[in-house]
Symmetry: C2
Subunit: 501 residues, 2 copies
């Protein structure tokens, strides 16, 4: 028991309460709030965000953190307390070096920049967005410079915010393998793909029945409806107030069935992570998934690795056919698996398939490095984007709307975020091969027995929250650090098996 830690606790409780309130406002905004509420509600959100910042960034907390960094104090802390102090220190190092006024100006810009982006995207007018993007880049580089130690690279600092412990050195190796191994493999796969039929996806599916199936499959995967709720929003997402209140949204259109089903499975993967965090950790700074990439590994493990396998669908496919007998009458479970895994290079990241997805991220990673490390001119980016799409995916956008303007991330200053998406898929594959070595994974799936899978992930990943890093979790589970090898192996084996390449 440390008295400095005791003094830190009320700050932590206050910050967590404010953060939870902000999460609820965001959820409410996406799912319920009336159209014209925004202008007034954003004042409230601004004030609460400001309070959150001030709760951690002040002289007393700084003093306590310095004291708690000492060897004797560290010895007095439990493992959990150490992890919490470390996480608060991380936030402190992220926020304190940035002058408060600059941070506020940046927040003000962020509040309006995404609507400027949305307008530019709708109008296919990159010129409208370019000045805001330039300002955003300047802020991110300046903030990174404030935080820089020694020879640290700026982009490494940004990457580290989303994926603690990862840097360009590792990512260059990772994306290098994707480039050398995957790009030629995909070209080979594409030749076979034109023959794959998926006429079922061009039929109409009544929304109420889709909802029924999606709710059921979420529950089948382990979503606990006593500790969570579902809603709808323009883009599916998962959030949580704590580990007893986990929420995700889905979206439904009558055209096609894949979108809503695989969104439900994906978001349930995120939700299971948050349900699984230990009670002692929830509502503390370490009470949530450890990183973007690890979170994405859980959603993609369920969505792609098991969720698009024949074993997974074997016990449950008839349930889907019962709901949609007309639409699926000519589609066997094998046809369905071929269909949902069909790969085709395309322009839009969020609509792309599992195989080509990492190439979309590769494009963004290379451009972000150019922007942050090599001062690429904002004017040059659309051309750069289009060239890379042509080179890696063999397709070229005809408009900036379906090119460089497609993603919201840069408009809110989130540089260094994209790589986590690809890392998530790779971590999922690494976990998958380890699981297969310690349990009859395919058998469980065929029996419709998801419990041992969920329990395994809870024990090895979910329970720790942020108290262990992605690499610590992987090392302790598999004995190995992160590597891209399993990912490449997984994609090759999977596509070879399904399509007899």
């Amino acid at each position: 028991m440390s008295r400095y830690y005791e003094r830190l606790k009320p700050y932590m409780e206050k910050a967590m309460a404010l953060q939870t309130a902000l999460t609820l406002f965001q959820w409410d905004n996406e799912t319920a709030a009336p159209k014209e509420a925004g202008e007034y509600t954003s004042q409230v959100i601004g004030t609460l965000s400001d309070e959150y910042y001030k709760t951690y960034i002040n002289d007393e907390v700084k003093y306590l953190l310095d004291k708690l960094a000492g060897k004797k104090e560290q010895e007095a802390l439990s493992e959990q307390e150490k992890a919490i102090v470390k996480e608060i220190q991380r936030m402190d190092q992220q926020l304190r070096p940035v002058p408060a006024e600059e941070y506020k100006a940046f927040s003000t810009l962020t509040a309006k920049s995404s609507s400027i982006w949305a307008k530019a995207k709708a109008d296919n007018d990159y010129k409208k967005f370019a000045p805001v993007l330039e300002e955003m880049i300047e802020y991110q580089k300046r903030f990174a410079r404030y935080r820089k130690h020694g020879r640290q690279k700026l982009y490494d600092i940004l990457l580290n915010d989303f994926e603690p412990g990862f840097n360009m050195e590792q990512l260059d190796i990772f994306f290098g393998k994707i480039k050398t191994e995957l790009v030629p493999f995909i070209q080979e796969v594409e030749k076979k793909m034109d023959k794959v039929e998926k006429s079922y996806e061009y039929d109409r599916y009544p929304i109420e029945k889709q909802k029924e199936f999606c709710n059921w499959i979420s529950s089948y995967l382990g979503f606990n409806f006593n500790r969570g709720i579902l809603s709808e929003s323009a883009h599916p997402f998962t959030t949580n107030l704590h580990n007893h209140d986990v929420r995700y949204t889905n979206h439904y259109t009558e055209e096609g069935i894949e979108d809503s089903i695989f969104s439900a499975i994906h978001e349930t993967g995120h939700a299971l992570y948050e349900f699984g965090v230990k009670d002692e950790y929830t509502l503390t700074p370490v009470g949530t998934g450890t990183s973007m990439g690890m979170h994405e590994s859980q959603s993609r493990f369920f969505e792609n690795v098991i969720g698009k396998s024949e074993e997974f669908w074997t016990p449950i496919y008839s349930r889907l056919v019962d709901l949609f007998p007309e639409q699926l009458k000519n589609t066997s479970v094998k046809d369905f698996i071929k269909g949902v895994n069909k790969s085709k290079p395309s322009l839009i990241r969020t609509q792309s398939d599992e195989l080509t997805y990492p190439l979309h991220i590769l494009v963004r990673y290379e451009i972000e490095k150019e922007i942050i490390e090599h001062g690429a001119n904002v004017k040059s980016l659309p051309k750069m984007w289009n060239q890379k799409y042509k080179e890696y995916l063999g397709v070229e956008p005809e408009t900036d709307t379906e090119g460089i303007l497609q993603d919201v991330h840069w408009s809110t200053g989130d540089f260094g975020y994209f790589p986590s998406y690809a890392l998530g898929s790779a971590v999922a594959a690494q976990i998958y091969y380890y699981m297969k070595s310690v349990m009859p994974l395919e058998e469980y799936l065929k029996e419709g027995n998801l419990l041992p899978i969920r329990e395994f992930l809870k024990e090895k990943v979910h329970q720790y929250g942020k108290s262990k890093t992605t690499n610590e979790i992987l090392k302790e589970m598999t004995g190995e650090e992160f590597t891209a090898d399993y990912y490449i192996k997984y994609l090759k084996e999977k596509y070879q098996k399904i399509y007899n390449l």
Copy 2:
């Protein structure tokens, strides 16, 4: 411009942001949150409530309020600023005299007391509730004693929290008139009531169609769906984050149509009040309805005064019949009006009709006086309750569940709250007669033209928020202070007219 006021502003903004967050948590809890979230979410709510308290109750705010009370400073303030300072002073006087630890202990009790009440009510076991009730009474009396000036009566202090400017002297006159004028009139009405048929209410009404009608009628009354949303909860209620985000809930059962329709009209009345508050006032301490009673006057004006009149239903009744042709085929608009106004003394306040409603409040008012002013023993209350019901309403509860345990209010320490319900009806009647003297109210209703009615209330009542008291609003509008006379007159005229007494 006062520099003291400028220094007060950040406290106010922070308090308003916290209060808005607390409102959102409450809304979410009633409409969306998963069943098992409560234990963790209540920690968050506890921390935010604590912060709210500390934001207003601290030395700096006390210092600023003292400075701002000075004559010179008052002169430097705008009308709006004066009203805001006055309201913060009122809260300060309410909270500061109570020692923080006692207030915290009281809050802890409140957090569990309503579930003890709910259990006792479900089990018809007053003994289980009695000790908590006694503790609650002790807290309320103690807190009132801390706040007492001179010869002030304790119950007057409590009444004033809900209805600023009202006290026992006025309420004794008010309830005296109800006793002497209304009790005999009701006995006379009841003799005629057995003949009133309302078989339509014993039919079944599909819930989706009820929702369709309720949404429509809300919109007809002026609910702005760009600035508000509807949801469902166990008990209907209205709340708002600010004047651009107003929300109410309804509840639906297949049995009968009156409940959902008149709840929709009632809650829309509350909602229109909050929509109507001036933009400059919203998100300030004066940015909401001025009192419980005035709020209830608006909901009851719409629900009862106009909403149960033949004129109101004349242009719209066919719409209801179109939705429910079978159920309403033998019910003319006149029959419907007779039906919805049917009066019958009953045991449960929330299910009672407009005419007998004030007698339910009379019972509670007299018992609260006994409790707070004359030290009535908690053990004696059920008997006292039953005797008064017999005396005023002619009915006697067979269980405490349908007697003294029926309402939640006392379990959360809300003594002095009930009278506002009856005051609301009386204020509505007073406004009604004034409106009839300045506009062709009945004509507007028959034409389906609600706009002039809404605009009148917005101009005379809604826009001011808490910047004027109930009495100031009534005086400026009608030239008279509050009086019960219009209420008695209204009820007599209405029932005489509908039933040809």
